[in-house]
Amino acid sequence: MTISSPVLRNSMRLILPITLLYAMYAMLKGHHEPGGGFIGGMIFATAICTYRMSHGALAQLRLMPVHPRVLIFLGLGLALGTSVIPLLLGEPFLRSAVGEFHLPFSSHPFHYASAMAFDLGVMLVVVGVGVGMITQLSEELE
């Protein structure tokens, strides 16, 4: 369902990028602090759905031109893939590779873990499920 309010339409231009950025931040932060793929995905999906409310279904489709099913597939595939790779290296399932690298222009080392890819997969699944459900329900309303 679309709400034709100019206030919402215009403020979405600000809300959408900030929310998407915050979603990514919440996802990445989750490795050590509260946050993670699930909550990041929820925030991401909320942003997309709000955009659908303000700009309509077509605009949302242009913003996210994939079927939610594909997102679920990619997310689950990514999560499963990252968990299976350690098996090939003789490590237990879900084992995470960790390390640090230096970003240019930063003295602070950046800690990474391959579990981040798993989290990204979770995020994709949650976005897929969230957007898919809302789309399905609002299509029925429309």
Binding site: V70, F73, L76, G77, L80, G90, E91, P92, F93
Partner: protein, 537 residues
């Protein structure tokens, strides 16, 4: 590659196939091939590991997820109990899945049917493998989610009504389960089965009582597992649910879903919640015994009273679950082994009967006994398969059911003779109900009065997968009968490890885990010896 790491493939293969199945929504043929390959792979892996582990000292393989050490991380354990169940469930899934090619509606097939079957088995396999209570809950949920969808594929009014009941009941069950898991964690500080067993063993060795409320917790979890396993008096959801869905799916459910509940009892109660002689055991054991008697006997009475093949078979599931609960209620090594053997043979045989029922329905267009007949002459092969499966269920000596019942009934004779008598009576009534189907459907001379519509016209070509699925399962059933010896060797080891979880604890938690307990045991043995020495002079 280390063998331990491989056991997670039981979970990863169906999950991966299910994920690919989501994308292959329209490509039915590819999805079918992939699905068959997935079940073949898990069956081969399970059988291979079981054979390989026969010479292993404990027969337990443990993989710690992400290499996090045992009580903190997630342990995945493949022991004799899980191994036998995984092998049986993968083979049953293969049979039912192949059978479904000729019974499932094309519309349903394009609505994630293949993905859902894989995800159902993902949940079931995870339940058999997992080493902690919370992941058992998670796997139950995965399995139930898939089963909700599979139940409502037709979208008919009747299906929705039954599925509504089923979903509601299972939601209540899951809520109690997760509350129970939370309380277990609060009481003991761990959810890992091995760690819980260690907690109980430690308390017992020290002669201290378990925390107050532990018995109540056992009862709450028994309620949850009993609801999934359809034991008395929590069975009411089962007959209608299996009656309304697709017949191959009904076969799969009849094989899997109740057994997962029984497995959960078998895994947690002898080791933890009702471990030898604790207060909880004193309450749980009589409940299990009474429940077993009612489940066996009332279930089979229900089966005798029905007049539809599918209803008879569905109600029969309950009665057979009673035998397993009987084995659990005795909780000795041998009885637990018998219970395990009965579980796997029942999975195979009951699913096979459902698959036969599917073929019968296609032949006659109905599963009403009055309106079908003369099938023996029309399809002798189906009659043969059905007869073998039915007699295995009844427990005619060289067939699989006999060996299951023999061990349980004999073991029960000394301590709970009344249960054994109920068991034997139930066996006789089972024979009666199976003969009822046999004589009405196959033996009765009059040809079935069928309205021949294009849908129910039997077509050998389209039924070929159905015959293949049923044949596979009947062969497995025959193997379980004639090859009962090697299977029982593994089952006895499983029973021993359940009744005395020391090997399991050491395998999961590491070699030093039992040191503390051993010290206490040695001291109390010394004390006992000292006391005995004081008494004798």
């Amino acid at each position: 590659m280390k063998l331990e790491n491989l056991i997670i493939l039981f979970v990863a293969i169906p999950m991966g196939t299910g994920v690919i199945g989501v994308l292959l929504k329209q490509r039915v043929q590819i999805a079918r091939v992939l699905g068959v390959l997935s079940f073949l792979a898990t069956s081969a892996l399970a059988v291979g590991l079981l054979v390989h582990l026969r010479s292993h000292p404990t027969g337990i393989l443990v993989s710690q997820m992400g290499a996090w050490p045992a009580p903190f991380g997630i342990s995945v354990v493949f022991d004799s109990l899980s191994g036998l169940l995984l092998a049986a469930s993968s083979l049953v899934a293969l049979g039912c899945y192949v059978h479904s090619f000729s019974t499932v509606e094309p519309t349903a097939e394009k609505r994630y049917f293949h993905a859902l079957v894989q995800l159902l088995m993902f949940g079931v396999n995870l339940a058999f493998l997992t080493g902690d209570l919370f992941n058992l809950f998670v796997s139950f949920e995965i399995m139930l989610m898939a089963s909700y969808c599979l139940l409502t594929f037709g979208g008919t009014r009747l299906q929705m009504t039954q599925a509504y009941k089923y979903v509601l009941l299972n939601l209540i069950g899951s809520t109690v389960f997760v509350i129970g898991a939370g309380l277990v964690y609060g009481m003991t500080g761990t959810l890992n089965f091995a760690d819980l067993a260690l907690f109980v063993a430690e308390r017992q060795a020290q002669g201290r009582a378990l925390p107050p409320g532990f018995a109540a917790l056992s009862i709450a979890l028994l309620l949850v597992f009993g609801l999934k396993g359809a034991i008395f008096p929590l069975w009411f959801w089962l007959p209608d649910t299996y009656y309304t869905c697709n017949v191959s799916i009904a076969g799969l459910f009849a094989g899997m879903l109740t057994k997962v509940g029984i497995y959960a009892i078998a895994r947690t109660f002898p080791m933890i919640f009702a471990h030898g002689g604790s207060d909880a055991a004193k309450i749980v054991m009589p409940i299990l015994a009474i429940s077993a008697a009612f489940t066996m006997f009332l279930g089979v009475l229900g089966a005798v009273s029905h007049h539809n093949i599918r209803r008879i078979l569905a109600v029969h599931v309950i009665s057979q679950v009673g035998y397993m609960v009987f084995g659990l209620a005795l909780m000795t090594q041998i009885a637990l082994a018998g219970c395990l053997f009965y579980m796997i043979q029942h999975m195979v045989v009951k699913s096979c009967l459902f698959l036969c029922c599917g073929i019968i329905e296609r032949h006659t267009g109905t599963d009403d006994l009055d309106r079908s007949g003369g099938l023996l002459r029309r399809d002798w092969y189906l009659a043969l398969v059905f007869f073998i499966a039915a007699m295995s269920l009844v427990g005619l000596p060289p067939l699989s059911g006999f060996f299951g019942k023999l061990v349980i009934v004999r073991e029960g004779w000394d301590t709970r003779w009344w249960l054994s008598i109920f068991g034997l009576l139930t066996g006789a009534l089972t024979l009666l109900s199976m003969l009822k189907i046999w004589s009405y459907c196959f033996w009765s001379p009059q040809a079935a009065a069928i309205e021949r519509t294009p849908e129910n016209l039997p077509n050998r070509g389209s039924l070929r997968p159905a015959y293949a699925g049923a044949t596979l399962l009947v062969l497995v059933a025959l193997f379980l009968g004639f090859g009962a010896q090697p299977v029982y060797e593994i089952a006895f080891r499983a029973g021993r490890q359940l009744a005395d979880p020391d090997e399991y604890i050491v395998a999961v938690l590491g070699p030093g885990a039992l040191d503390e307990v051993a010290k206490y045991r040695a001291t109390s043995a010394q004390l006992a010896a000292g006391r005995a020495a004081e008494v004798t002079p």
